[in-house]
């Protein structure tokens, strides 16, 4: 395979990132105290931003059908609940999910490009993506080639993203997973974010969920700063998706505070912010039930996905 090194278009050097400063900012944001009606509004918003996810080798049509039903009926005992934003599955299960979710307004997202490792050649990744789209995926969650990125082959990674985006076109939303847990430093997170945005990512996403650490607040802040700078330069609004490890309502609210104060309230919409999670929804539902009834119910009252 011939690797061609080239600068990517509209290239701006990524600014350095100061880890200590990022952690201090995160601590200050996480100390916001969100109470009462502002908490209820945030919890409902967070529900509407969830990409309800199952990505196991053992996934079956039956499991995906269950997940889709949960996506549509989060907790029927509570009135006025939103539905989640999307259901995220492997390409082979996209068709099942599309059938189950028809007419619900919930999108079907598929992981592609040799998820989760990305260890495949370009042709395989293209075929994988095309298959997912042909099966009916409305959103593609691709992984970048971390090996190439860490070797400094930025042109290769740029081309890879750009090519997948051209397959997606305008109709299919592309989320680019940086797998920040493998990038090592916040400087690299920033560089990868800038690269993915320049190459056409509609969303940048932290993690596959298969590597620890997955989404963290510091990593997300750095990625949001990249989105902010991209918006300042181009006027275009791109989205953000932290995924993996966001399990509690409290953490979800901390992410929303961060989005609100970094990118502004225009980003507080599922079209620009998503949370990839499998168990978060029930913790939020428990909190919402408590806001209604004044007491916490045990987990057995909330259906598993």
């Amino acid at each position: 395979m011939q690797v061609v090194q080239q600068p990517y278009p509209n290239w701006h050097p990524s600014p350095p990132v100061d880890q200590v400063g990022v952690e201090e900012r995160v601590a200050r944001l996480a100390a916001r105290s969100i109470k009462k009606e502002s908490k209820v509004a945030a919890l409902k918003l967070a529900l509407s931003m969830i990409d309800l996810t199952t990505l196991e080798g053992s996934d079956s049509p039956g499991k995906v059908r269950q997940l889709c039903y949960k996506a549509k009926h989060l907790h029927d005992a509570l009135p006025d609940l939103p539905h989640v934003a999307a259901v995220c599955v492997y390409p082979t299960l996209v068709r099942v999910a599309r059938e189950e979710l028809a007419g619900s307004g919930i999108k079907v997202a598929a992981v592609a490009t040799a998820f989760p490792s990305g260890q495949a050649d370009r042709e395989t990744k293209i075929r994988d993506t095309r298959y997912a789209i042909d099966e009916g995926a409305e959103e593609i969650d691709m992984v970048i080639s971390r090996g190439a990125f860490l070797r400094g082959e930025y042109g290769y990674v740029y081309d890879e993203i750009a090519e997948i985006k051209s397959l997606c076109g305008d109709a299919v939303h592309l989320k680019v997973i940086l797998e920040t847990g493998e990038l090592g430093t916040l400087d690299r997170v920033r560089q990868a974010s800038d690269l993915a945005l320049a190459a056409g990512a509609d969303f940048i996403k932290t993690s596959t969920g298969k590597i620890q650490p997955a989404a963290t607040l510091p990593v997300t802040l750095v990625m949001l700063e990249a989105i902010r700078d991209f918006h300042l330069r181009t006027g275009q609004k791109r989205g953000m998706k932290p995924a993996g490890g966001i399990k509690t309502a409290k953490t979800a609210i901390q992410y929303l505070v961060m989005v609100n104060e970094t990118l502004g309230p225009e980003w507080l919409t599922p079209s620009l912010f998503r949370i990839g999670a499998s168990t978060l929804a029930n913790d939020i539902l428990m909190q919402l039930a408590k806001e209604t009834t004044g007491v916490y119910q045990c987990a057995d009252y909330f259906s598993q996905a």
Partner: protein
Amino acid sequence: MSTTSVASSTGLNWTYAPAPETADPKIRSRYELFIDGRFVPPAEGQYRTILNPATAEPLTEVAEAGAADIDRAVKAARRAYEKVWSRMPGRERGKYIYRIARLLQERAREFAVAESKNGGKPIRESRDTDIPLSVAHFFYYAGWADKLNYAFPGARARPVGVCGQVIPWNFPLLMAAWKIAPALATGNTVVLKPAETTPVTSLKLAELIQEADLPPGVVNIVPGGRPTGAALVQHPGVDKIAFTGSTAVGKWIMKALAGTRKKYTLELGGKAANIIFEDAAIDQAVEGIINAIFFNQGHVCCAGSRLLVQEGVAEILITKLKQRIRTLIIGDPLDKNTDIGAINSREQLNRIESLVASGREEGAEIWQPDCPLPEKGFWYRPTLFTNVSQAHRIAQEEIFGPVLTIQTFRTPEEAIERANNTPYGLSDGVWTDKGAKIFKVTRQLRAGVIWANTFNKFDPTSPFGGYKESGMGREGGWHGLLPYVELEETA
């Protein structure tokens, strides 16, 4: 908010609900003077009404010490010094100071609320900075009390005697801790005058000192205004003056003490340069600028009030700074989400307003966010000035408010020259990703404290103090022991 639409194109208009801190500050309706271990009424019967600056409503009333009260306090401090405190072994003194530290830590939340109610600062700061740092100072200097022989090898450190200490209104309890802790650790006794608008936490500290069973007269707290401070400075029974406050008053103290045997340390005004190089981590630098100038409403002697930006990043930096300022929450100091609280007093608000007016008149360009301000109380919006000349008053004089001047520079040499072109020399900040540049630039800056890639960081182990008209002497760390001891050679 639309609760069901996934593809809503506009975001949630999200206002954080009030989140007030509810701990009881236990502020009495009236405070007397604290002299010789007891609360006693003032000889002349004067009391001052203390306001909550966030509402401009009375908070409590506090006795005003006159010359006779100062005399009583100094004599009590002298008795305590000669009969008890200077003779007590260091390890015993240390136990008392540790006890103060522990009691303060146990009542941290109560003191934080009291500090915010009296001073107007956000509870986030009093809770996370003022009170924990005050506690840390007592703990730190308690540790020195029985180790003074190791602090000064080959010398015996003897106490100076009775210390008259005059502190400002911006960090009321923290400044009391900075002054009292090293004085007690080294065997001195204290007469402390809190600022006229913010005596509450000093007097609560007096209650706590009573509870700690400190021998009577070791610490005396005598609230009052300038005449009280002047009486303390000029009292012949005082051996050392420690003052934190304005440069004008500092100069007056130097004149008043000239020709006397009294020692003194002065921590005065500042006009710190905060220098941002093109290679800095810009987003973190923006946060650093916010902390440098808007911490405690800019009522900080070491505030980064002059921003010097390298021209290649000036435009983007100012854009980001304005974005960030728009997210600052201004209002009720007791709300846990408040970023900027109330201006400490009507007098200080007037001073800020008049200096900002001079900036406009001299042709600088002003920018403020259009955030709402509470109707009652003393408030000022965070303010930026661009198009600032080095000759403008706003670039030369200490504003002591949430007002930042912005100037650009092209070369490091130009930045250093600008930064040093001030009568002050308390603090500076440097932001760059290059370690070598940090050392090269900071070596040439004339300031007592220089932060690199951060700002307004304090620690009891670190000495603090100024060059030039920002003062003399150091507080904090080992250096902070020196002004409170006389060294005798033992070799």
